[in-house]
Each structure stands twice: as C-alpha cells, then as structure tokens.
C-alpha cells in the first residue's frame, strides 16, 4: 500500500518542472539554486533524499551541472595532488582549474574558480609549492 509520503508521478513531474525553471538559462545548478529546490520540496512534503534523487536524475538526463558535484570532484583531484609529493604545484593547480572550468562549462568566472580552489586547499590544510629563488607567488596572489 502506498504511504502518504511517497512521491507520486505528478509530484515528481511538478518538482522536475521547478528544477528545470531554476536552471533554464544556464543548465547549471549552483548551491543557492540547489537550496531553493530542496526548500520547494519541503514545502511540497517531499522527503529531502527523494528530492535529491529527482534532482540528480534530471541533471543526468538533461546534462545539467551540479556545482556541489564539481567542487567535490575538484577536491578529490587536489587531494591527490597534495598527497603525491606533499605539495600542490602550479601545474597541478592549473589542471584542477582546467577541470573545474570544463565541468562548469565556463559558468563560473576564472577568478571565482581560482578562489574556490584556493579555499578548498586552505580549508583542508594542504600545502602549495611556490616562491623560491625564481618562483612566483602564484598561490598567494589569488
């Protein structure tokens, strides 16, 4: 027997339409939009995990980018770079930035993407390789 909290096809369709409306201009779900979607789901008595599952399914089907997923991916990449020799060098940072830019399809300005990656590095206490006799202060300058 179906419980009240089950999400019907109609509820799913309505939430799907709401998600499409949030991202119709750029196919990009940033954190604020994700929160909006979840708030809308709560208003409609849809459990959060089901709303997230619908959002992910719609994102996958329609090729939408979820900002949180891109940041997770960038974090994993930086974590690997930080662990292979203890420090993240400029080339590795540029690689993480390139992946981030590609994944977000240029929706995030480069300066903001750099700041986002810098924050991830600082929040996780990872070290960077910069300076030295002829080295630049590429990380500090962000």
């Amino acid at each position: 027997m179906e419980k009240n909290m089950s999400m019907s096809d109609e509820m799913k369709r309505q939430l799907g339409e709401f998600i499409k409306l949030q991202v119709y201009d750029d196919k990009y779900i940033d954190r604020a939009e994700e929160k909006n979607i979840l708030a809308e789901a709560v208003k409609r008595n849809i459990p959060l995990d089901e709303a997230l599952a619908v959002m992910r399914q719609i994102a996958e089907t329609n090729d939408y980018v979820v900002e949180r997923d891109v940041e997770t991916q960038a974090k994993e990449m930086l974590e690997q770079f930080a662990s292979n020799d203890g420090k993240i060098d400029k080339k590795e940072f540029e690689n993480a930035l390139g992946m981030y830019k590609r994944a977000t399809r240029g929706r995030v300005p480069e300066s903001k993407a750099k700041k986002c990656l810098k924050d991830i590095i600082l929040n996780n206490g990872w070290k960077v390789k910069e300076g030295g006799l002829f080295g630049s202060k590429w990380f500090s300058e962000i």
Partner: protein, 138 residues
C-alpha cells in the same frame, strides 16, 4: 507507472543485497539492478534514482561514477597534448581511492589505458632515458 513505496523498498533491498559485502556497485551489479527493475515494471529512470539515493545515503561507491571522474581527470591532463607518467599515476591513485581498493591495480591501469586509447589521448613515454611505462600496461 508510478513507483509505490513498496516497489521502491523492494528494489532498495535488492540494491543492498547486491553490495552487502563491499558497498561497491560495479557495472555488472548496476546492470543486474536495472534488469531487476525492468522485471518489476519499474522504469530505468526510477530505478537509477533509487540506486543513487541508496548509494548516497549508505555511502556506496558506483563504479561508473569513479570511472567518469578519472576520465575527466585524464581529459584535463591530455589537454596539453600528452599524459605523462606522473599524471597517469595520479589518475590510478584516484581510481584506487575512489573504488576503495575493490579493483586490483593492474586492472585499473588497463581500464585507464583503454580510456585513453578510446579517446585518442596520447601518453608521453620513451625518449632517450624514458621508460615504455604506457606500452607495458597489458
């Protein structure tokens, strides 16, 4: 075609049964889950949504997602023309970590080599003192 709570619960139990020993959903298991869903008249989209929700709630790893992330990484490395040994090793390490050691390292190397070959990405190897690290992966 609406999926009832009971149908969802049953499919959820089937998903958990597939991965109960290792919390890892490989491609074969994913296909089995989708086949089971079809048998129960559950659409592929609904089944994938259930699988993802359960994976996310129970911290299961979906192999296809790990491979997709490693592919993105290799694509970035290949964007300057060639993937060097260190970059390839970084991708192998990420795959190992992502799959929680469920896939043997030799198999990971083979899979990533195949990804590169399929995508036409080149490896930087050889030269006067360089090894044939990429060609040697079999």
């Amino acid at each position: 075609m609406s999926m009832s709570e009971e149908a969802k619960r049953q499919l959820g139990e089937f998903v958990k049964l597939q991965v109960y020993d290792d919390k890892y959903i490989d491609r074969k298991e994913e296909k089995k889950i989708l086949e089971e869903a079809l048998k129960r008249n559950i659409t592929i989209d609904d089944a994938l949504a259930v699988m993802r929700a359960i994976a996310s709630a129970n911290d299961y790893v979906v192999e296809r997602d790990v491979e997709s992330r490693c592919k993105d990484m290799l694509e970035q490395f290949a964007s300057d023309g060639k993937v060097d040994k260190k970059e390839f090793e970084d991708s192998v390490a990420m795959y190992k970590k992502g799959s929680r050691g469920r896939v043997p390292e030799a198999e990971i190397r083979r899979r990533l080599k195949n990804v590169m070959i399929d995508q036409g990405w080149k490896a930087k190897e050889g030269g006067l003192f360089g090894s044939k690290w990429f060609s040697e992966i079999s």
